[in-house]
Symmetry: C2
Subunit: 490 residues, 2 copies
């Protein structure tokens, strides 16, 4: 029952033969192979890591045509988007290659001995980092390249010196197998242990649970639903030895649009926001699911503009029929809890129509059911009576990958308070544009307080994603031969 | 039943009147006051934070005589040690004052916009940090100054911009009250909100549980037993919004003494180690609880030397009668599980005699009961048949604050493997001296895989302790007025 099947996302029809789920024995074998690979990969040089990551990027690009076609069938995300995502995935691999080449995983803090009694005096200390060990990586459905088999988690873990056992996402099983095949070819070509990257698969929860419970797994990395991520985190915590679990879960990404911004460029912002809501059929972790407006004529005009712009959109099919059903259920739940429908475009069996709902600030604050993420092309407008109520709305959201603040260009008590409220709940605060689109760069922070992340001090996108897989270790009075390794673990 | 009583640790007699436990209402009031204080303290300047921390250090020193006398009565740790610990605590406060003055909490990573389409192009990003909010701080019994009301957790949280609600340790309630009184005086003198540091107390678990469950608590910091810390971590995870929980729990701190080191200076090392085992009556988180020897004549000689040196030691009274009973129970449990007694010095009602036990490597690997921490002046010798078995012993330990490796001065396959095995399970690896004594310095790492820490990527001692209370936030296209704050939150 745990076996899986590829589907054509646009038609919902089965695509190819059913695939067998990984057995407990094969999961165990994958982790054992990863642990064996760790013996050498954990002490590999930056050049070795970079060579692997570069070759993986090149392999993706070389197989682009077939990969994108397969991804398009399984996800319906469209070839333009998928080509762009493949570019991003290769960019990400190369960025971590450059990070490894620069020796970031081997950086040290040298703290020479200070003579005398404590607390001032201390022995010679060097702080460096060690890779954690085999990482259980749970691929996401909505980025079949960038957050999947060869995505940012895999790239950053490999750059850190950690083997990876990927739990493939059942939403794109054939693409996962094809990408995994590329990896195996590269590993063989570079004479690296094939256990350095393994893959397991299954439609149910059993495979992932078995993986995160395995005693030789040292960390988990997950991108997906709050429910699934919370369940896996509970498994990680329930182990005899709990392990770090980096889960990127739900996020509703409030957009706070202040009257000044709406007055100045409401029409433009409405178009921009409508595009962001339906982009990728709304299947982004940074999809703007909540629009907070301060009641007044600017808000009235903006809502009308947004409704018009959104009603004209035609989102493509969703990734899976399960997600399609969940979207309808989520919208229905909001309506049951008092949300007013402003746009309710009908959809097809696979592709939903865009939805725009509205509640008052007071309603939102009273109904915690309205705080849930609805994954897909919908957004909920909250009409706040005041800036103070808008702040209360942000506090009620509690945790989000992003908050967008339009109209905070001038300093005032109000804008300072809103910035404080936004920074208190989000990993990224935007002052222009829309939250969809997550730059792979040095200053990215893709993570935030629960439920955005199970580990809000970390990021799953950007250079610091590496840090999740490197644990600091202090060496006290280390011998010369060890210091001569310049931070490279034994 | 949750009320508490100060005891004279040397006699076990009650000291002063019983104290009332904090009520649910007073806990709530403390957290609300902390949340109110966060509104201003979260955006305080480095100079303001430094001024507070400096004044707190000075207040401790000014009241030294009375504080040390009270601490000595309640803990029996002795005035020499307690004066040194007070020095260390003041040093720690001043070190975090200097860190705040240098602007470390406000450090930013500037990532200017890059023109062009993604993945190369991206908007202007600045990565900075925000304080988490009110921290629930659980004081430890064994460092009545350095890991208690005004210890490193409080110092680093305040430097980060976070208010603190301290759960006092019931082992030194009067000292806690006196230190808390000093804090209140300093807060008033500096015209700071008294809610910036609050204190709650109680003998049972209810007070701590209520604290960590409070919705306005943003993080927990704990030093204590594995059982207590695990229970509080479970509470932190079970919240509607889980929060970071930094627990330093149990650690058995293996000392691996290779034959070469024992041959060269076995007598000296035996004396050093015996002193470390009984120092502070063995009540250190870095107490060497496991001694791993490679079987052979060097090991035989060293064990005899160590037994002689240890038998001559007379540890002082333990911190509490509960810990005294737990020590006897822990030693008895090891004996029940096949450990051989080498030194079994009788103790008194309050002060245990030193204990030295021994098992084979095979026994240790078979009996997980032998992997537990016994808090007090005892150590378990493991006679490993080979380096490979010594490595298996380290792997079975799994997580420790420290591993000490004596005799790894020369590079070889064996020493590389042992260093790898040590770094895989510890936050600090020592190559000389003993693990007791934890330098408060830049390159310290006081934390390790479970059960040493619930958050092994963080440290509770040293400069990076600050990082536990600052969450990264990326600002995208931030307005000029916000950038002009140079990393100081609104």
């Amino acid at each position: 029952m745990n076996d899986l099947q590829s589907f054509d996302a646009r038609s919902g029809a089965a695509h190819g033969e059913p695939l067998r789920a990984s057995t407990p024995e094969s999961i165990d074998a994958a982790v054992l192979a990863a642990a064996a690979a760790f013996d050498t990969w954990g002490s590999s040089t930056g050049a070795q890591r970079a060579a692997l990551l570069e070759a993986l990027a090149a392999a993706l690009e070389a197989d682009r045509e077939a990969l994108v076609a397969l991804a398009d069938t399984e996800t319906a995300l469209g070839t333009a988007r998928l080509n762009g995502e493949l570019d991003r995935t290769a960019f990400q691999l190369r960025r971590f290659a450059a990070i490894a080449t620069r020796g970031v995983p081997f950086e040290r803090l040298d703290d020479p001995a200070v003579a005398g009694a404590p607390p001032v005096g201390h022995p010679a200390m060097v702080l460096q980092r060690v890779p954690l060990g085999p990482v259980a990586m749970f691929a996401a459905s909505n980025f079949p390249f960038a957050f999947s088999v060869l995505g940012g988690d895999t790239a950053s873990a490999l750059a850190a010196g950690c083997p990876v056992v990927v739990k493939a996402h059942p939403g794109h099983p054939l693409l996962s197998l094809r990408v995994f095949g590329l990896i195996q070819t590269v590993l063989q070509a570079q004479d690296l242990p094939v256990g350095l990257v393994s893959m397991v698969q299954g439609a149910g929860v059993e495979v992932g649970v078995a993986l995160v419970r395995h005693p030789l797994i040292a960390a988990g990395a997950f991108t997906g639903s709050t429910r699934g991520g919370a369940a896996l985190q509970a498994e990680a915590n329930a182990r005899a030895r709990p392990i770090p679990f980096y889960g990127e879960l739900g996020s509703i990404n409030p957009v706070v649009a202040l009257p000044a911004a709406l007055q100045a460029r409401g029409g433009e912002l409405a178009t921009l926001l409508a595009g962001s809501i339906v982009q990728g059929c709304g299947q982004f972790c940074t999809n703007p699911g909540l629009i907070v407006l301060i009641d007044g004529s600017e808000a009235d005009a903006f809502v009308a503009q947004l409704a018009t712009a959104l009603a004209a959109q035609t989102p493509h099919a969703m990734l899976t029929s399960g997600m399609r059903r969940a979207f309808d259920a989520g919208v229905a739940r909001f309506l049951e809890h008092g949300a007013q429908a402003l746009v309710q475009q009908p959809g097809s069996a696979q592709a939903p129509g865009p939805q725009l709902l509205q509640v008052s600030g007071a309603q939102f604050l009273q109904q915690s059911a309205l705080h849930d993420e609805v994954f897909g092309p919908s957004s909920l407008i909250v009409r706040a009576a005041s800036n103070a109520e808008a702040l209360a709305v942000l506090a009620a959201v509690g945790g989000s990958l992003t908050v967008t603040l339009w109209g905070a260009d001038t300093e005032s008590d109000d804008t300072r308070a809103l910035v404080r409220g936004a920074m208190a709940i989000a990993g990224r605060v935007l002052f222009a544009s829309v939250p969809t689109g997550v730059a792979v760069t040095a200053a990215q922070q893709h993570g935030g307080p629960w439920p955005a992340s199970t580990a809000p001090m970390t990021t799953s996108v950007g250079d610091a994603a590496l840090d999740r897989f490197l644990r600091p270790v202090s060496l006290q009075d280390a011998p010369g031969w060890l210091l001569a390794r310049q931070g490279r673990p034994c």
